[in-house]
Symmetry: C2
C-alpha cells in the first residue's frame, strides 16, 4: 500500500471515526483501530465498535493498493500535526505504516486488515431520503432530550415514525423524552419509511448521524433493515444497530389546549435564566416562574447562598400562574428554539408546559413542571 | 453599606481573589468568603487562605460605608452575568447583601465582617522596587520550573537573591529548579533587598504576584519581613508567608563552558518537538536528539504505537552528539524563550544542557539529560 492524500481530507476522515472506535486499552485492541484500504483513487477508512460502523471514502493518489489497520487515536494525533499539505502513506515490513509529510516521519505499528471485524450483512428493505440540513435539525431538536440512562427501556433512544401534517403530507417525525421533557420535530421526505416497530435509534448513532449532515444541500439516505439501519451520503456509509424499546404513547402527554399562553423574546429569557441559575439549587428544588400580565418573574433560592430574581417582559393571554421548573431542563429546551420569539403554552401549575416557535408546527418541546413548595 | 460600582471593576476584583480563597465546603467557611469594606470612594476586597492575603481597592460611589463577608465564588459568578454596566450593592437585614443590576436582583447570604480573620502584622524591614513588566518576566521564566512536590524541601518555591552583573550593577535574580530543570532570570531594581535567608516564595504566591503585574509600566514594591513578604501596587496589596527551605547551591549545576553549541530557530524546534511528542512515551523513556553538522534529528519511540522522527536545521559548533531528554520538560523550557533563535550549549551526553537567548545574559535555562538506551 502506498498513497498520497491531502492532509485535511485525511484529518477530517480520522476525526470522523474518533467517536466510533473504542479507546486504547480496550480488551479487543482491533476495535481501537481504523482500517485503511487504498484502491484506485481513494482511501477508505472503516471504524466500528460492533454496534456502529463508519465507512468513508476520501480521494487519494494511490500508487499501490493495499490495507492495514492502525490505532485510530494516534493516527489522528499524527494527522493533526503534519507540517505539509500532503501526507505520504506507505506500508512497510512487519505491518508498519510509514507516514511522511515535510520533515516529519512516523512509523506506526499496525495490525493485519484480516483481523478487522467484518461488518454485518445488511438487509435494507426500505429507505427514506431527506436533505442533510433537515435531518440535522431533527436531531438537534430532539437528541439532547434522549434519556441518558440506558436502563430506561423504551426511552434511551430516538423514536422515528411517519405522521401526516395538516395538509395531508407525510412527515418523518423524530421524538425523544427523558421523562422530564419531550421533544419532537418533523420534516418531509421521499421514499418509503420502514423502520421496524419497537426499535429506537441509539444516542451514540444520533450524534454520529449529525456529523454526517455537515453539508446542508446533500441528500441523505436512511435505509432500514430488520435490526439495523444504514445512513448513506455521497462519500460515506454509517451502519448502526437499532435498540429494542417500545417508545411510550407520547401523544397522551401533549396538551391539546392551553389555559394561558405567553409570548417572550428568546434571548431575554435565556439571559434571565442564566442569571437566576447562579443561585439555583442543583436539582432538588424548582425555580419559580410567576407569569403575570406583562412579565414573568423568575426566582430561585439556594439554602446556603441566597436568592436570585429576574423579570422578563411577556405578552400573556389568560390568567396569572406560578409554576416551577428544573432550570437546567428549561434552559436546554429553550436553547433548541431558533426563532426570535417563543410561545409558552400552559395549563395549570402541574400540567406539562409546551414551548413552540411562532408559525411552526413542525417542532414541539415540552417540559414537565415541578411542584412548588 | 450601600454603593454603586462599575461591573467590570467589581468583576476584575472578584476574579483576582478566586485563586486565593478556599473552595466552598472548607472546614472554615469564612475562608471561602471575600470581605467587602466600603468607605469614601472605594470598595475594598480582602481574601485570605491564612498563607496568602489579597487586599484590593476599587473605585465605587459609596452611599453608606459598611462591611460584610460573602461567598467569593458565588459573588464572582453573579458579577459575571450582571446585565448592566453598574452594580448596586446594599446590605440588608440578617446579613443579606442585595445586589441589583438592570432587571437582575440577588440577595446573598453573608457572614459578619468581624468573623473574617485578621491579617498578620507585617514587619517590613526592607524593600525593592521594579517595573511590573520585569517582575512578571522573572516569574514567567522560572515559575513553571518550581518543584510541584511540596515534600521536596528547599526547591518547592522560588529563590530570590541579589547578584552583580558584568557591569557591576546589582540585579534581583529569581531561581527555580525541580531537580530535572533549572532556570534563573534577573532584572535591575531599586531599593534594598532584604529577603531572609533560607526562605522561598511559595508557588501559589508566584502565580498571584504575576496577576498583580498586569500593567507593564507600573512600579511594584516588594517588602520583606521576617517570615512574610508584601507586594504593593497602586491599588492592591498582597501578603504571603515565605516558606522555609534552603535552596541548593545551584551554581554547581551550571556548566561554565561548552563542548558544542547549536543555534536553532525556536519556532521550528517547537513544531518539531510537538510532532515527535505524539509517539513519545510519557516519562520513562528519553527522546533522542542527534546533533550533527547542519541539523538535529529528534526521534521518539513508543512500545505499542511506533516511532516518530523529525529533522530541524541548526548551525553547530563542535562535534556531533546524541543526547536524550524528557520531551515534555524540554518543550516547557523552550516555550519560555522569547527570542526568534535560541542557543543550546552542550557538554557530553550526560552533562546539563543549557539554553539561552542570543545577546541576553539575564536568563538561563538548564535541562538535565536522560541516559539513552
Amino acid at each position: 500500500m502506498e498513497l498520497y492524500i491531502d492532509r485535511d481530507a485525511f484529518l477530517s476522515g480520522l476525526g470522523r471515526v474518533q467517536g466510533i472506535v473504542e479507546r486504547r486499552n480496550t480488551p479487543n485492541p482491533i476495535l481501537s483501530h481504523v482500517l485503511l484500504e487504498a484502491s484506485e483513487g481513494r482511501l477508505r477508512l472503516t471504524a466500528t465498535d460492533t454496534e456502529l460502523a463508519f465507512i468513508g471514502d476520501f480521494p487519494a493518489n494511490v500508487i499501490t493498493p493495499g490495507e492495514i489497520a492502525v490505532d485510530a487515536q494516534s493516527l489522528f494525533q499524527i494527522a493533526k500535526v503534519l507540517p505539509d499539505q500532503t501526507a505520504h502513506l506507505k506500508l512497510g515490513a512487519q505491518m508498519r505504516l510509514e507516514v511522511t509529510s515535510g520533515s516529519a516521519w512516523y512509523k506506526v505499528v499496525g495490525l493485519p486488515a484480516a483481523d478487522f471485524p467484518s461488518l454485518p450483512d445488511f438487509d435494507g428493505r426500505s429507505s427514506v431520503q431527506l436533505p442533510a440540513e433537515r435531518l440535522r435539525w431533527l436531531i438537534e431538536q430532539t437528541g439532547f432530550v434522549v434519556c441518558q440512562d440506558d436502563n430506561r427501556w423504551g426511552i434511551n433512544g430516538g423514536h422515528l415514525e411517519v405522521v401526516e401534517d395538516e395538509a395531508g403530507v407525510s412527515q418523518l417525525r423524530m421524538v425523544a423524552t427523558d421523562g422530564h421533557r419531550l421533544s419532537y420535530a418533523q420534516a418531509s421526505y421521499e421514499g418509503e419509511f420502514g423502520m421496524p416497530e419497537r426499535m429506537l435509534v441509539p444516542r451514540k448513532a444520533l450524534a454520529e448521524i449529525k456529523k454526517l449532515c455537515s453539508r446542508d444541500d446533500e441528500e441523505i439516505d436512511i435505509s432500514f433493515g430488520e435490526s439495523a439501519a444504514l445512513v448513506t451520503t455521497s462519500s460515506a456509509r454509517f451502519y448502526f444497530r437499532l435498540i429494542d424499546g417500545e417508545f411510550p404513547d407520547y401523544r397522551q402527554v401533549i396538551p391539546t389546549s392551553w389555559q394561558r399562553r405567553a409570548f417572550v423574546h428568546k434571548d431575554q429569557l435565556v439571559s434571565a435564566l442564566k442569571r437566576v441559575a447562579v443561585l439555583a439549587q442543583d436539582r432538588g428544588r424548582p425555580v419559580r416562574f410567576a407569569f403575570a400580565d406583562g412579565s414573568v418573574t423568575i426566582s430561585s433560592s439556594h439554602t446556603d447562598l441566597g436568592e436570585a430574581r429576574e423579570e422578563v417582559p411577556i405578552e400573556l393571554e389568560g390568567d396569572a400562574l406560578d409554576i416551577g421548573f428544573n432550570i437546567r431542563y428549561y434552559q436546554e429546551v429553550l436553547q433548541a428554539a431558533r426563532s426570535e420569539k417563543v410561545i409558552i403554552e400552559l395549563g395549570d401549575a402541574l400540567s406539562p408546559a409546551l414551548m413552540r416557535e411562532p408559525d411552526d408546527d413542525d417542532a414541539l418541546l415540552i417540559v414537565m413542571p415541578m411542584r412548588l413548595d
